[in-house]
């Protein structure tokens, strides 16, 4: 059964803005993005919202619903009570363009800072051979839809804009981990993770894992294993000595 729901939507741009109240019809089975579309169609034709697949796979409709980073298309209206006022705001960590749309180009800049896959010199494309058990760890990270909710919620840059220069964010530290764990990658990414991409700034408070719509265990499976690999290289004299004595490539 439908009902009239109460919504507060942030409207504005870089010059200013604020929360505006709306009452919008809500029908059974709808998600928040459906309501935003009805709001656009009936009351606020110029409301800006980025969206694409409506299936939780394109990562376009990231926003904050009642203060929590969520995908608009994957947040069911049935999770709220009928009398509840639902607040919808743009992602806080990124510059605002207009209404619910933010400029996420910070993430593309960080993506470009990570050197791409580096295969062994003696292997040509088409000659790569890998065991499934060697690649499946990295495959978890390939589920990422690049919604950037993890980047949005990470307090390292959300609460400290000044860290954006030094910190790649959980999505791209996970990319570093993906390459580091790849059986054929020879990029040697451990020290760069700490010194170039800012892994040491992460204090593993797991908000990135909490908001991930793909349920990737970013902290446990990517960030902490990378921290342990960094500890091997930079903070563990026993491993360092063992590598020297046995002439292991660390």
């Amino acid at each position: 059964m439908g009902y009239q729901g109460n919504f507060r939507v942030w409207r504005g741009d870089e010059d200013g803005g604020g929360l505006e109240d709306f009452t919008v019809e809500v029908n059974e089975g709808e998600v928040v993005l459906d309501v935003i579309h009805r709001l656009q169609a009936t009351q606020a034709g110029d409301l800006a919202v980025r969206w694409n697949c409506k299936a939780g796979k394109c990562g376009s409709c990231s926003a904050e619903i009642n203060g929590r980073p969520r995908l608009l298309c994957m947040t069911r209206m049935s999770t709220f009570t009928e009398g509840e006022t639902i607040t919808i705001t743009p992602m806080r960590t990124f510059p605002i363009i207009r209404d619910l749309v933010t400029d996420v180009s910070f993430n593309y800049t960080k993506a470009r800072e990570i050197p791409s896959f580096k295969p062994p010199k003696d292997l040509a494309p088409g000659e790569y051979r890998m065991q499934q058990i060697d690649v499946e760890r990295s495959q978890e990270f390939r589920k990422c839809i690049e919604c950037f909710l993890c980047q949005d919620t990470c307090h390292v840059i959300r609460d400290h804009e000044e860290n954006k220069e030094a910190f790649a964010g959980p999505r791209f530290l996970m990319r570093v981990a993906e390459l580091e764990m790849h059986p054929l990658d020879e990029g040697g990414r451990t020290v760069a993770a700490q010194e170039t991409h800012g892994l040491g700034l992460c204090n593993i408070t797991k908000c990135c894992s909490e908001v991930c719509p793909e349920h990737i265990k970013i902290t446990d499976n990517a960030l902490i294993p990378m921290k342990e690999r960094v500890a091997d290289r930079k903070y563990d004299p026993v491993v360092w000595l063992g590598n020297k004595i046995f002439r292991r490539q660390s």
């Binding site: 504005g12 604020g18 009642n66 929590r68 806080r92 960590t93 307090h155 764990m181 408070t205 500890a231």
Partner: protein, 257 residues
């Protein structure tokens, strides 16, 4: 320029409850552990050979001789210092540098952040890049030390089956066994353990035994938070039971002999 939103958070759920419970839980346990450490009594039940894990191994000259399973190589301690002072730095170090507890106290005690998408109160943030927090990278050394102490606790739990009247089983034995079981599960589920056993490998296919161990530890690792709390609380309960039996407040419930 970000969207201008003045509120610290727009979350409407009880985001403050989890950090509050964490601070309360860790605070209570810290107070209890401090009281028992400086009490320096009621840690050994001579009749049944129960030794509390908080005083094991008991290595200084002031220990009850029978409670010193590994001798007394250390001299009597001056002033208010008590035998646990030799083991607490390692046990505390293991828990403080643990990846789960770091999350817990960074959120609950340091509010960095207090909860996801709730602004932290600090003006600057350097994470774990500088002293003293860069020392969190020493977690693996505390893991090694805690593993050795776990072996000592297992030895204590096994030898406790033989008391002054010979072999016997009491509630204390079962508590000691459950305690070492939980401690073993918590220690084995540690992220450093997971890394050392197999996580650091690039090619699992070349190391099938280590891959098998990594898989098992990964399953335990998924329960690291639950094991951290269960083992911490149960150590206190074990100590409390032994303190009550040692002081004569209650008697041990005997099952055999």
């Amino acid at each position: 320029m970000r969207a201008q939103i003045s509120e610290r958070t727009l979350r409407t759920d009880r985001w403050w409850l989890s950090p509050l419970l964490t601070v309360a839980g860790l605070g209570l346990i810290s107070v209890y552990a401090a009281i028992r450490t400086f009490m320096n009594d009621y840690y050994w039940v001579s009749e049944y050979h129960y030794l509390t894990p908080m005083y094991s191994p008991c290595l200084s000259a002031e220990c009850v001789p029978a409670a010193s399973h590994f001798g007394q190589p250390l001299p009597e301690l001056p002033g208010f210092l008590t035998p646990p002072i030799f083991i607490i730095p390692f046990l505390l170090g293991f828990r403080i540098t643990c990846y789960y507890y770091r999350k817990a106290y960074y959120r609950a005690a340091w509010m960095s952040p207090p909860a996801c998408a709730v602004a932290e109160p600090h003006k600057t943030y350097t994470g774990e890049t500088k002293a003293p927090l860069i020392a969190q990278n020493l977690h693996r050394y505390f893991f090694y030390a805690a593993s050795l102490l776990l072996l000592v606790n297992i030895y204590d739990a096994i030898t406790a089956f033989v008391g002054e009247k010979g072999f016997g089983i009491g509630l204390g034995n079962i508590i000691l066994l459950v305690n070492v079981g939980l401690l073993a599960a918590y220690t084995a589920s540690c992220h450093s353990c997971r890394h050392i056993m197999g996580g650091k490998l690039k090619h699992f296919s070349k190391h099938p035994v280590r891959y098998w161990m990594w898989q098992k530890i990964s399953k335990l690792n998924a329960k690291h938070m639950q094991l951290a709390w269960a083992s911490l609380i149960f150590v206190c309960l074990t100590d409390l039971y032994i303190a009550l039996v040692a002081s004569g407040v209650i008697g041990d419930l005997r099952i055999v002999n």
